[in-house]
């Protein structure tokens, strides 16, 4: 049987994480990252400029630059055949908003994609009012093949776990910025005092401060509530992460575990 082909575009390291998983499960993988330059892609992944017409599944993984996300979605959609599902990271932009950017929102489905979360056993899905039941079912089956349970949640800024996790990380940034305790003390306290699997700041580091900031900003915009205002320290760290990733010569890819 011919290998199924997945086309993955978006942010590093999400593209690398998803590409590695699909590759491991026997898919042919095409990938394009938002930042150009010498990003190492795992061996066996084809770097592409334009999505192939033989693509069976398209995945868009941009969380930070939403203008870029819009362009990526358009490029993916114009290349893939009708009926091919388009899975798009929807933690910083709702599926309903993204549906405005595509011609066939029936095949657009949101996924909860943040760096490092793919290591766990469940992925969240969200549909817009226009998403077809077939698209959702196809995605459910696909993730089952990839070894993931799925949870279908209502389309909303931050979905479920990214919303909780980023709010925790944001509060930890507020506490650190307010001088309540040192970074390691905050992480230690949360692990030992509440049995969290990781400290909120070490978790933010794993996800990326830029991503946490993007999720908070998106929630602040959607819910229009001050409780989602990104902590000043989070904003600083997000900016530092961005300048690091765009400065020539700076290491761009995070190590994939």
């Amino acid at each position: 049987m011919k290998k199924r082909r997945v086309c993955i575009v978006g942010d590093i390291p999400l593209v690398v994480e998803f590409a590695a998983l699909f590759l491991e499960k026997g898919f042919a993988v095409d990938a394009r990252t938002n930042t150009s330059g010498a990003v190492e892609l795992p061996h066996g992944i084809r770097r592409i400029v334009r999505p192939s017409q033989t693509t069976n599944i398209a995945v868009e993984l941009t969380n930070i630059d939403l203008l870029r996300k819009r362009r990526n979605l358009a490029a993916l959609e114009s290349a893939i055949r009708p009926g091919i599902p388009l899975l798009s990271s929807s933690v910083t932009m709702t599926v309903a908003e993204q549906a405005e950017f595509v011609r066939h929102p029936r095949r657009l489905l949101g996924i909860g994609a943040l760096p490092s979360l793919l290591q766990t056993d469940l992925i969240e899905l969200a549909a817009s009012a226009a998403t077809s039941i077939e698209t959702t079912e196809t995605a459910r089956q696909l993730f089952l093949e990839l070894g993931k349970e799925t949870a279908l949640v209502v389309d909303s800024a931050g979905m479920v776990f990214p919303r909780i996790l980023c709010a925790l990380a944001n509060e930890a940034c507020h506490a650190l910025g307010d001088g309540v305790a040192a970074q390691d003390e905050i992480d230690t306290a949360m692990k030992l005092g509440t049995n969290y699997p990781a400290g909120p700041l070490e978790w933010a580091d794993r996800i990326g401060y830029g991503e946490v900031f993007a999720v908070m900003s998106s929630m602040q915009k959607h819910f229009d509530e001050d409780r989602y205002r990104p902590a000043p320290l989070l904003a600083q760290r997000a900016l530092a992460a961005r300048s690091k990733s765009t400065r020539p010569g700076a290491p761009q890819a995070r190590r994939v575990e």
Binding site: D121, L122, N170, D178, A181, G193, T194, P197
Partner: protein, 282 residues
Amino acid sequence: MKTIGVIGCGTMGSGIAQVAALAGYDVLVFDASTDALGRGMERIAADLQRAVEKKRLDAAEAAVVRRRLHAHRSLNDLATSSFIIEAAAEDLAVKSAIFRTLDRICSPRTILATNTSSLSVTTLGSQTKDPGRLVGMHFFNPPAVMKLVEVVRGAGTTGETIAQTAELARKMGKVPVVCRDTPGFIVNRVARPFYGEALRILGEGIAPVELIDRIVRLEGRFKMGPFELMDLIGIDVNFAVTKSVYERFLHEPRFRPHPIQKAMVESGRLGRKSGKGFYTYE
């Protein structure tokens, strides 16, 4: 440092006394209520007995530990302690009165620690002539099991007091983290969104209780989801902590409690202890 005073013999006080005695200290335990004192000492004895039965503790050693614990019915009896940990009712007037007395009867070198989770260490320090020796020592429930102690620096607390408190926590087998006296300290503050966002996600109809818990367990690898955890802690207890942090932050919107919590408390659905919370228990 050889003798430790513990004030209050409820769940926290008796647990702290037990941990201190196990670490080799002589412990003077005071409670204003004779009943509470008796029950607390019995709780410690029963817990030590269980440890012996489970072979986690030698029977002879348990006997030695028990002999290190002394119940007292007068606060004056604790005056000779070199370190006093107050774990009385979470009430500013009660705690203030205790610290005013301790300030009068203890040696100026005695360190006075409060196990408060919701009151200001700085405010309690202001009740004494020397706030430099007053410090927060926040244990987690149950103290015999939980490794963390928040060592809370009030506005006047000296570095020496912080260092000695952290050292005592380590000797008691705990991991001290030093933090500034701010509402909720570290844990009770940073943990708020875990419950607050889960309640909002529920209230907005984004996912039901069971699904949110499953997502947090499987996607986040938490041992328990937010609703299972609120049921375990007690929805009333969780609501009280949230309200306290919200009040002390002068109504900062990030800490605003959720109407779902309030309705559940008012209808007696308090979690496991009442048989009904977000889930139903047999």
